[in-house]
């Protein structure tokens, strides 16, 4: 085994990916650490994984369905909101923790070499148990209230994978930007707060005027959440718009990975 250290200009993607495979155990270990630490010394423990999305869903369904009278197509408004919250809650957690992942690990970054992309990526893994708990809880609720399950249901996991990819890719982007510009520490929570309202969690994009509707789908989570509703309740989705969201996810993931790798060389020096 031979390592050559020099100031290389381009990116060697083959080597990068090979290295990520080499370090995969670190990814699991860091994710495990985050998960363990999150519920250490809490009384309710993993119950928090349900409490938070459930109460947000109740609140949002009150605001959008009771006050703003958004149509839930006969679906229990709380169940309706909860199906949106599954994806949104995970997404918001992963993005905000991903953004700070490098800064919070600066000590590690300065003292040891490892592919740093593992840090934001591990946040997406660490939040998976929470996501799973929310999904199980929501599906129990769903099976009680909904008896017309059809073949669309099989597509449900695909939308979960898309959620993971979008969350991870924004984690790549924001963590790398946050190293250079600490402004993103303030920008990201703000964006997430706005996202809670412009993502159709407790409403559908049918409430939005047709002319502007496509704009909502630039947000990758819009496509994912409408997709989840399609798979669970058979609500119709404009697939052309859905592909905008899908395209955004793929675009953000690829560019995020490239951008992060470009920044990586300098991270230890400028952190």
């Amino acid at each position: 085994m031979q390592t050559i250290i020099e100031n290389r200009k381009g990116l060697n993607f083959k080597q990068r990916i090979y290295e990520l495979v080499e370090y995969r155990e670190l990814l699991w270990t860091l994710a495990y650490r985050d998960f363990r630490v999150k519920y250490a010394q809490t009384f309710l423990g993993v119950l928090w994984a349900i409490i938070e999305p459930l109460f947000t869903a109740i609140l949002l369904s009150f605001v959008f369905n009771r006050v703003a009278k958004a149509n839930t197509f006969g679906i229990n408004p709380i169940l309706f909101g909860l199906t949106g919250m599954i994806a949104w809650n995970y997404f918001a957690n992963v993005v905000s923790q991903g953004t700070n992942s490098l800064i919070l690990a600066q000590n590690m970054i300065k003292k040891i070499y490892f592919p740093k992309i593992i840090l934001p990526a591990s946040k997406a893994i660490a939040a998976l148990p929470d996501l799973l708990i929310t999904i199980v809880f929501t599906l129990i609720f769903y099976f009680i209230y909904w008896h017309r399950i059809d073949i669309n249901f099989l597509f449900f996991p695909i939308f979960i994978v898309l959620t993971l990819l979008s969350a991870m890719s924004l984690g790549f982007w924001f963590s790398a930007l946050n190293i250079r510009y600490r402004d993103f520490r303030h920008v990201v929570p703000f964006v997430i707060r706005i996202g809670l309202f412009i993502t159709p969690i407790a409403y559908t994009t049918l409430e939005v005027p047709e002319t502007y509707r496509w704009i909502f789908f630039i947000n990758p989570m819009t496509g994912v959440i409408e997709g989840i509703r399609w798979s669970l309740f058979g609500l119709s989705v404009n697939w052309n718009y859905f592909y905008i969201s899908l395209g955004m996810t793929v675009f953000l993931f690829i560019t995020g990975f490239i951008f992060f790798n470009k920044m990586e060389k300098n991270i230890a020096d400028i952190i």
Partner: protein, 398 residues
Amino acid sequence: MSGKPIIQVQNLSKKYRIGKKSGDLRESLRNIFSFSKEKPVEIWALKDINFEVNQGEVFGIIGPNGSGKSTLLKILSKITYPTSGKAILRGRVSSLLEVGTGFHPELTGRENIYLNGSILGMKRAEIRKKFDEIVDFSGVEQFIDTPVKHYSSGMYVRLAFSVAAFLEPDILLVDEVLSVGDMAFRQKSMGKMNEVAQSGRTVLFVSHNLDAIKIMCKSGLLLKNGSIVSNDDIKKIIQLYKINYIISNKEENNTKNHSFINSIEFKIKNIKNFNSLIIKSADNLIFEMYIDSKVYLKNINIKILVKNKDNYVLFICNNYLVKKNIDLKMGENIIKCNIFKLPLNSGKYIIDLHILKDGKIIYNYSNLKKIIIEDGIYYKSGRLPSKNIPFLVDYKWV
């Protein structure tokens, strides 16, 4: 390994930009839109470094603070990249720039061993295999399932070092990590390091601890201001370093220098009543110093200066004046000085501490301690002169 050196460093240089390290958005936008960019200050942390290390060698790197030792190690561990030049490492590399990287206080000792191990590049299966040895070496088996936040700091570093001690790379890069734990543990870690060296691995060793370097290494580098001063036999280099070091010490005569001494704890005790925090005139006192020395220092000169609050030196306790020989051994030393019938009026006083070696100050701590002296029975009457007379002298009217 086909006779080629295991580490080959060629024209390695590293430039840092000082000042504009991590700006904000505003700064960057301004830089894009303005033409009159002020140039950032550039500093060469390393300049044209060339050296080779053969397999199985234990290679020392020494040099004063800021000479580029750590930067060199950081480049070789891939933490930071070189500006130009090249380094070739032929083998599996592990770097140990700190012990306990990534340790989390909420996790148990067991979990932290796995966490730290994988951060250092060990596979889970490898850690599992060595787990018992690691725990055994650290001596914390009783608390292995306790969160490390409940550990004493000694237990913490012992566990952290133990994980690192069981790395099995071809090349090990070590930075100043052998100075953790108490004396006994330090000796144990040195022994472990020697074992690693004897097993044919290559070790690159950066330290301020010249004694450790001397024992472990055969040859090494002396760096100064980012360049190699000498690449030679370790004894010659250490000698050169000491000469260099003392010269630069003269320039900064008045600063506290931690190159020889890690830390000093200064305590004042009352002989009659050890636990009493009150000091009175005419008390018998002990000045107790716990000196943690990095190296063995022979025949040093300690001066304890007692000053009034206007910084005027009232008296001095100097071991040379009373012909008392003091040697500092590496590690913890306890030095005591007794004072009989404290000749000071009540009031506030300040203590300075100077330590000299061969007439040169190696440790200088002004305002080390403030003491408040209360009224005591110095004279039979129990009364003291007015406060602006600091000194008391035992006398007899005849």
